[in-house]
Symmetry: C2
Subunit: 361 residues, 2 copies
């Protein structure tokens, strides 16, 4: 598949939607990708099935607090350095890159990286959404080691980390990322082609593109949120979806702490009923409760969009008084297995509730 | 030079003295070295001048809070792994090891490492004492990069770090060490033989050995503290030395925080004069004030010894009621230059006083 620069706008918008509040600002992501494409050309996007079983595939991502990513973006050399350090450590060249997650920055940064390095990008990722911590990906759930991994920053500081556990790697990368200013580049989960085919969430780059296009279409035809819901219902993963709240932001608490954007957003219904919704987040939205009652919970997607334009609103752009539609969307089946729920279900975030699929709520 | 196992007791004791309260418990250090020597044989100790100018020399040390090192020692494989990761990164084998500092653990751990790896250990170090932070060594003062550096732990987690500044490396290693339990192995400051000859504090292993022997002699002959002072006056670096206080511990505050042992110790004079001394420490003793007046300050050495046996007392072994002689000892001349004072003089520790040599106090 060959993308156009126009596609980037739609991918960025769709990915920001799937980023469920996290994954970084799509504007920043698009700027990074566009400038790399202008200099190095558009990279090839390939399906997982096009990979040789023994191909070397690396993830590439920005990691940190989205509030900081906005001000401290990648410089390019940091991306090259992260891949180079991984290749040195592995003793072989990367044949392709893959996003670790889908989000405004983290679906675009891999495009930037693939363009710079002249290698293809795989149309897939490790969650079909965004999550805040390194161990929270299908690759880890199904036994791929996240290390060796490389962390770099725009001063070309570099760390190569090897651990026996993804959680240990997360802890080390997190404290290092804080020390380096809460925004770093990370390449991790070195995989072969077979592992990507078996454990990745396939086609998510294309899905992000089509989500962006559906929102666009809706804006021309009438109701973009309706167009978005209609399209999602035709997808393989996100077909269980509904608008769970229509309200305005009446309270917002957001702290950049422990290397994350952590907080909650309260909304009050626009229909005058006095109903309220609380959405809690750690970079990404974790749980939505209406008057204390569960409405959607991780790993299902909780997405906030502008109620008129369906523009996805990242956590760092939330503002008092914003009018928002909150959507609950089913996660990919591979994300809802008991093994997956152990790694990124409600308990992994310290939530008291059990996971209940959005279609049962 | 070939050491005997008996020498280890004396080196450990002498190094604990030069460790100025830090550098780890000599008992732990000696156990580590002895068991490695039993398995692998005693390593050769060489003078810096025996190194080829282009020889590859690496430091090896334990890093963390001394209070924790006592309970979480090295396993051996962690030492091997740190050197291996450095060799991989540098693309060449280590020809020799060198202690980064002199201290109860950090003069012994290099013996253990050299024994395990079958390579010589250089009779020198980067400060002729102990200091709490990575940048606080002559190697850094005179322009040797502390990275690439490798950090490992007993679970064989490993990090290889590259930075443009030793302080940045310190910050990254410190947070990583805290994450790994406040006790890790670090190999850093890859040097060539010429750099070791030019910038190391020479002969400090031998000096530690002779200090230990002098204390021993004093115990047989009468006054070990006197014997210690007499010997120090004959050395090239430590010849300005005096007992600056003779008292008992009347207050002690010691916290394991930010990856260090931080606190202060108050002593009251035994002569009934009511005079008091405060000694502040960050792993190592930093400043001694008598009734508020400066008596000794970094980088000069402030050493606490048992007033009867001259046994050096590390910070983690300080106890209420202990009877202690506090000594002030001159640091090596290379440690007192303006460039050195910028890196580990009083200001580097947030102290208000200027450095005043012990002989002028």
């Amino acid at each position: 598949m060959k993308l156009t620069v126009e596609d980037l706008v739609n991918i960025g918008r769709g990915a920001a939607f799937l980023g469920t509040g996290g994954g970084g600002d799509p504007y920043i992501g698009r700027m990074l990708a566009t400038s790399a494409i202008q200099e190095f050309g558009m990279p090839e996007i390939i399906e997982p099935d096009q990979l040789d079983d023994d191909a070397t595939v690396l993830t590439i991502a920005m990691l940190g607090a989205p509030t900081v990513l906005t001000e401290k973006a990648a410089c390019g050399d940091d991306v090259d350095l992260a891949i180079k350090r991984m290749e040195e450590k592995l003793g072989r060249k990367a044949d392709a890159l893959i996003p670790i997650e889908i989000g405004g920055v983290n679906s675009m940064l891999p495009i930037m990286a693939a363009a710079r390095l002249g290698i293809p990008l795989v149309d897939a990722d490790g969650m079909g959404r965004a999550f805040p911590e390194i161990q929270m990906v299908t690759f880890n759930v199904y036994g791929v080691s996240c290390t060796p991994l490389a962390v770099t920053d725009d001063h070309l500081n570099a760390l190569v980390i090897e651990t026996g556990s993804a959680k240990r790697a997360e802890d080390l990368v997190r404290v290092s990322s804080i020390e380096l200013g809460c925004s770093v580049i990370m390449s991790s989960y070195p995989m072969n082609g077979k592992q990507v085919k078996d454990y990745a969430v396939h086609g998510t780059m294309t899905l992000a593109l089509e989500i962006g296009r559906a929102i666009n279409r809706g804006r021309k035809e009438g109701d973009p949120v309706e167009a978005l819901v209609d399209y999602l219902q035709t997808t393989p993963y996100y077909n269980q979806c509904k608008v769970i709240f229509d309200g305005k932001v009446t309270d917002l608490r957001r702290e950049t702490t422990k290397g994350f954007s952590i907080g909650h957003c309260h909304l009050t219904a626009l229909d005058g009923s006095g109903r309220t919704m609380e959405v809690a987040f750690q970079n990404e939205h974790l749980v939505a409760r209406e008057n204390g009652e569960l409405r959607a919970i991780v790993p299902d997607l909780i997405c906030m969009v502008d109620r008129e334009t369906a523009e996805p609103i990242p956590v760092e752009a939330l503002k008092y008084g914003q009018r928002i539609k909150v959507m609950g969307v089913s996660a990919a089946p591979i994300m809802r297995t008991p093994q997956s729920l152990e790694v990124f279900g409600p308990k992994a975030f310290g939530l008291g509730e059990e996971f209940v699929p959005i279609e049962d709520l």
